[in-house]
């Protein structure tokens, strides 16, 4: 009974690092389903395996066993062409905006590379107009920034350029790996709003990796809670927050300070 809306799914995905006594099972037999247009958060503390799972979904890391299905079909990543095809559909934003740019090149290079990846041959004028459109989407002025170097921009601006890159590529799925954890609290909302705009305007599916359960609640439709390599609870964001079932989820919510509820510091 296939669910036609499922764009990405995993069955028995496992990833082991090392061998013998030092063996670490970062991702332990994980099953998941993500539907088109959903914002799904994978929430876990450090060591939970969420980053490893994200890298596997992204195709940067190979799983030890298990399979991943994209659009119902088994995902192939063997040849360069296979990978290229996959990355036309699945893209990412990373945690550290400073490390995401090559400091030796102007920031427009990041956007020009998008045109190459899409395989389109555009004139210079067409390329510039697309870049301008992408910058507009993230409220940045193309004329002011296109020929600046990364160190001349702030962290928030760099992260917005990364979002404009996603806007240009228009992938089906965006893996956002803690995109706001290195951004000032006051600039966070901008990034989050833009991500939601991407989903609203182009029906982009977003997989949001975070350790902040409050953030996941604010942003997403569904939440997967990960502990020690396993998804211990999954469901609608609203349900998980108001009615957590798994003891780890209960403890996780308990450990987070709230505004209006008391915090038992005993």
């Amino acid at each position: 009974m296939a669910d036609n809306n499922v764009i990405l799914s995993g069955k028995n995905v496992t990833r082991i690092f090392g061998y013998g006594k030092k063996k670490v099972t970062a991702v332990n037999n994980v099953d998941f389903e993500i539907r088109k247009g959903e914002i799904v958060s994978i929430v876990g503390e450090s060591g939970s395996g969420k980053t490893t799972l994200a890298r596997i979904i992204l195709g940067l890391l190979k799983q030890t066993s298990g399979e991943l299905l994209f659009d119902g079909k088994q995902r192939k990543m063997n040849s360069y062409k296979d990978r290229l095809n996959y990355w036309k559909n699945v893209q990412a934003i990373f945690q550290d905006p400073f490390s995401s740019f090559n400091q030796f090149h102007k920031i427009e290079r990041v956007l020009r590379d998008c045109v190459k990846l899409s395989g389109l041959s555009l004139t210079e004028a067409e390329t510039v107009s697309r870049m301008r459109e992408a910058f507009d989407f993230v409220n940045l002025k193309y004329e002011e920034l296109y020929n600046k170097y990364p160190f001349e921009l702030s962290g928030g601006q760099m992260q917005r350029v990364m979002i404009s890159r996603i806007f240009m590529l228009k992938p089906n799925i965006l893996i956002a790996d803690e995109p706001t954890s290195m951004i000032d609290v006051c600039s966070r909302a901008t990034i989050l709003d833009m991500l939601m705009k991407l989903r609203d305007e182009i029906n982009m599916t977003i997989v949001f990796i975070t350790h902040d359960v409050g953030l996941s609640y604010y942003l997403s439709d569904k939440i997967f809670i990960m502990e020690k390599g396993k998804i211990v609870e999954r469901g609608n964001a609203e349900d998980i927050i108001s009615n957590p079932k798994h003891p780890y989820t209960i403890q996780l919510l308990d450990d987070v300070p709230k505004l209006h509820e008391a915090w038992n510091l005993g």
Binding site: L58, G59, L60, Y80, R83, L84, W87, V90, Q91, A92, F94, Q95, D96, S99, S100, F101, N102, Q103, F104, V110, D113, C114, K116, L117
Partner: protein, 278 residues
């Protein structure tokens, strides 16, 4: 150009460069002033320095100062060529093993370790002995092919740490091929490091040549600083008290080596973020 300006602020770099450039200029320009053949006999054997003979004569009666200039030329040439060969090999092997990892890394590392374990000097001696004719070029190549492991290991370590940067991942998911990633995302971040490695390899090359020549296994029919030292020892210049026949050569070897290392130290202060923090 920005980098040159910054380097000029480092005292160590400037001092080292000054010493090096002075020696190199002397070696290049003096033979134009004195166009005689350094192998010509000009006076009696072991004549002390006097007017017209700045450093006197060697055991055959040849002009020591002229020999010093020619010898320095050869030594620096050997150092440069050996440095280029060693750095190139080390760079390529280090980049490949550091970036790709896995089995290729294991193979290259084992290969590198083999070279490290056997003292390069011994290999140098063995190869030199088995060859009948040794030119300066050949000696440079031999030195280059035996001293690359140090650079390979250093480059590998740097590459392995650089490949975890997010812009490398962004390049991957943007469809960059592996060679392109190595050249555009990894190499530029190592540029200063590679330059420093190159400088040290030159110094190592010059010292290696001096050592091998002193043993009599240096280039044939060529004057180099090491060969000068060898002649001095063979023909008992120290015993005769003719210090001018070997002390200047030794001093030049030391000075070139020192200046290169000092320049490297200056560059390290500028480029190494860990030291810069203070």
């Amino acid at each position: 150009m920005y980098y040159v300006n910054v380097l000029l602020k480092s005292h160590k770099f400037v001092i080292g460069a000054f010493v090096l450039v002075s020696i190199v200029l002397l070696a290049i320009l003096y033979p134009f002033i004195n166009t005689a053949d350094p192998k010509d006999l000009v006076a009696m054997a072991f004549e002390p320095p006097r007017e017209g003979l700045i450093l006197g004569t060697d055991n055959f009666g040849r002009d020591v100062f002229l020999q010093l200039a020619h010898g320095t030329r050869t030594s620096i040439f050997v150092g440069l060529l050996a440095g280029i060969v060693a750095t190139s090999i080390g760079l390529v092997l280090g980049l490949i093993s550091g970036y790709i990892g896995g089995l290729i890394d294991d193979v290259i590392t084992t290969f590198t370790n083999m070279f490290i374990v056997i003292p390069s000097f011994i290999i140098l001696i063995v190869i030199s002995v088995s060859l009948d004719v040794r030119s300066a070029t050949l000696v440079s190549l031999i030195i280059g092919f035996t001293t690359w492991p140090w650079t390979a290991r250093a480059v590998r370590a740097q590459t392995a740490s650089l490949r975890n940067r997010e812009h490398v991942n962004i390049a991957k998911i943007s469809g960059y091929t592996t060679p392109r990633i190595i050249v555009s995302e990894i190499l530029p971040y190592m540029a200063s490091y590679v330059v420093m490695a190159f400088v040290l390899q030159i110094a190592a090359g010059i010292l290696a040549e001096a050592g091998i020549s002193m043993l009599g296994l240096g280039p044939h029919d060529t004057i180099s600083l090491g060969v000068l030292m060898q002649w001095a020892l063979l023909y008992e210049a120290p015993a005769t008290g003719a210090w001018w026949a070997f002390v200047p050569a030794a001093l030049f070897i030391a000075a070139i080596s020192f200046s290169l290392n000092y320049m490297n130290s200056g560059m390290d202060e500028i480029f190494n973020p860990k030291i810069r923090g203070n």
